[in-house]
């Protein structure tokens, strides 16, 4: 189960690893989007009825695996492009400006989306949230959980692979260049705004996919589940794990999850006069600060990724310096 939850964190910030901006609100916004689309696509009426319908449809799914598959794929196919589009749109005004302006704008945007979702009832049932169909109803219990886990693991692996390939590609180089020195990159004729737009789009898409998975895992979608705090948690995972290194977010997610579960258990053991949850947040915050100050690279600091195959390099250099070698 850990893996399913961790999966949510994973793809979101794959892009963040590069792009110093951290794909901020992208996390909250597009995750919610993915989840929302799920709600819309399959519920006739919201509010009081959505859970009812969800159960009904789930019963049907129990009978027909194909239905389940479709119910999973369609929202995914809609959510991801939509999220990518929205991600770029939301950042357009600030793409040409400083990173933290962009971050603020994105955060504002995600809050707006949340407010709209919360208040405009036909969308996701306002504060009641929307029930989500259980697309795995056709599998019986242990197999069901297992397949969910496998599914999210696959997604995570896919996202990670994509991230890794991108990071070692010329595009990855470009992003790093922009991060290191925007002016220099622009001086070399690279279209900075466009690169940022692409990074944003990719990150948003991944986040949407994560959102869809999350919605299925949770069984319901509630706008208030996706606040800036959630985005912050994702950023925490990246920072602690290590930006710029594909292994980083993995580590970060693992660390956070471990911490989270530990807190869940330890809660009963600590007899304090206030809510222990508060303490856990304080610790998290302090942890982040400590990491940034002591180990800014995170647990897995950036290494120069090999964009060219190592063997080829050795052979070429070998040939050049020793003409006798064929």
């Amino acid at each position: 189960m850990e893996l399913v939850y961790g999966e949510l964190g994973l793809p979101d910030f794959a892009k963040a690893a590069f792009f110093a901006i951290g794909a901020f609100a992208v996390g909250a916004l597009t995750t919610r989007l993915g989840a929302a689309l799920l709600g819309i696509a399959w519920e006739g009426e919201f509010k009081l009825r959505s859970y009812y319908y969800a159960t009904l449809v789930s019963a049907k799914v129990a009978a027909s695996p194909l239905l389940g598959l479709t119910l999973f794929l369609v929202p995914l196919a809609v959510a991801v492009p939509l999220a990518m589009f929205l991600g770029v749109i939301a950042s357009y005004p600030a793409l040409r400006l400083r990173e933290d302006y962009l971050a603020i704008t994105l955060i504002a945007f995600s809050e707006i989306v949340r407010v709209i979702a919360r208040n405009y009832e036909p969308l996701v049932g306002g504060t009641f949230g929307a029930g989500v169909v259980d697309v795995f109803a056709w599998l019986r219990s242990p197999l069901r959980e297992l397949s969910m886990m496998l599914l999210s693991a696959t997604f995570a692996a896919g996202a990670w692979l994509l991230e890794y390939r991108l990071s070692t590609s010329p595009f990855g180089r470009l992003l790093r260049a922009i991060r290191d020195d925007e002016v220099a990159a622009a001086a070399y004729g690279k279209d900075v705004a466009r690169a940022r737009a692409w990074a944003m789009a990719l990150g948003s898409g991944m986040a949407a996919a994560a959102g869809v998975l999350y919605a299925f895992y949770m069984g319901s979608v509630n706008p208030d589940d996706f606040t800036v705090s959630r985005t912050f948690l994702v950023v925490l995972m990246v920072t602690v794990g290590g930006r710029g290194n594909p292994k980083g977010p993995l580590l970060g997610a693992a660390v956070y999850l471990a911490f989270d579960r530990t807190v869940l258990f330890a809660k009963r053991l600590l007899p304090v006069p206030f809510d222990v949850n508060y303490l856990s947040y304080i610790v998290l915050g302090a942890l982040l600060v400590l990491f940034v100050m002591r180990k800014p690279g995170g647990l897995a600091p950036e290494r120069p990724p090999l964009t060219v195959n190592q063997k080829e390099v050795e052979e070429t250099i070998g040939k050049r310096s020793n003409p006798e070698r064929a």
Binding site: A20, I21, G22, P93, A94, L97, R98, E99, D100, Y101, A103, I104, T105, A108, F109, E111, I112, V115, I116, R118, N119, F232, V235, L236, T239, P273, F274, D275, Y278, L279, Y281, I282, L284, G285, A286, L287, L288, V289, V292, M293, P296
Partner: protein
């Protein structure tokens, strides 16, 4: 309508004080300080505690709030932001400020719980009791007078400090170019420390006025952040005077516009949309904000980014 205007003014006064503090943090350490809203809450709880313990009206606790907010802000600066100044990139600084916000905010939650137990008062969703004042035949809420007076007084004092004193000149110099200021013998760290103290103090004072109008709990500061950032953005990032102007603009438009729209059937829950729209418009149309309009005149502090 009169009440709406009164509310708008009070809100704008608060925003002005908050935005100035945010600006100072931005100017000195280049950090978009997400913890700034919580400093206001620190002020609230400090004032509340003092007024309960000493049995006085919260208005009398303002100096306590002032000191408390200043101290917390100073602490954040000394422990976190000064070491990171110039070393960490903008986004990291912002993320760190979010972490600080978590620490402060949840510490406040803890404090609220403890205070509730020890002092036997409600510490969440509480309000302060206000009194009405007769002004030109109309009943005006006391907090309007108090906040207006405080805001004007504090901003004026800030202006005097920055422009009429040596310390102020040092502050401006350090903000404009820390390295150069340092070579000229200005103790940049000390001067920035003063700025941060003031920023926190202003925020805390602003906070004290909040419970007179709305119910507060430790998260209220966080929810006001969007408006604060909007005020700073619209006013022009890097300009204190701009932040003040922006604050009034945002404050008044937020309250008045959402009131008008409510008349048209749009829920007031959509209020953040207006703020967001303001940020977007400013960034698109005139990224330098209001201060871009008077930029040639060098009125207030500006920073070369």
């Amino acid at each position: 309508m009169l009440d709406v205007l009164a509310g708008a003014l009070i809100y704008s006064n608060l925003l002005a004080l908050l935005a100035v503090g945010l600006s100072l943090a931005l100017l000195t350490c280049r950090v978009s300080n997400f913890a700034h809203g919580d400093l206001a809450m620190v002020g609230v709880y400090a004032a509340y505690t003092f007024s309960v313990v000493a049995g006085v009206t919260p208005y009398a606790s303002i100096p306590v709030a002032f000191a408390a907010g200043g101290l917390v802000s100073l602490l954040a600066y000394l422990v976190v932001f000064e070491p990171l100044r110039g070393r960490a990139d903008l986004v990291t600084l912002m993320v760190v400020s979010m972490a600080i916000d978590m620490v402060i905010r949840y510490s406040l939650h803890v404090y609220a719980d403890l205070m509730q137990q020890w002092l036997k008062v409600y510490t969440r969703l509480f309000m302060f009791n206000d009194f009405l004042v007769e002004v030109a035949g109309a009943q005006v809420p006391g907090v309007l007078i108090a906040s207006a007076v405080s805001t004007v007084a504090l901003l004026l004092s800030l202006y005097m400090l920055l422009y009429k004193t040596k310390l102020g000149a040092a502050m401006r110099a350090a903000i404009e170019d820390p390295n150069l200021a340092q070579t000229l013998g200005i103790n940049v760290k000390r001067v920035f420390a003063v700025s941060w103290f003031l920023a926190g103090a202003l925020a805390a004072t602003a906070g004290v006025f909040l419970p007179f109008r709305v119910m507060v709990n430790p998260d209220t500061g966080w929810s006001m952040l969007l408006s604060m950032f909007a005020a700073v953005t619209v006013g022009g990032i890097g300009s204190i005077g701009g932040s003040v102007a922006g604050a009034y603009l945002i404050g008044i438009s937020e309250t008045v516009l959402s009131y008008q729209l409510a008349g048209l059937g749009v829920s007031t829950a959509y209020r953040p949309l207006l703020t967001f729209a303001a940020i977007i418009c400013t960034l698109l149309v005139s990224p330098r904000g209001l201060s871009g309009l008077w930029s040639g005149k060098g009125w207030w502090i500006r920073r070369r980014f």
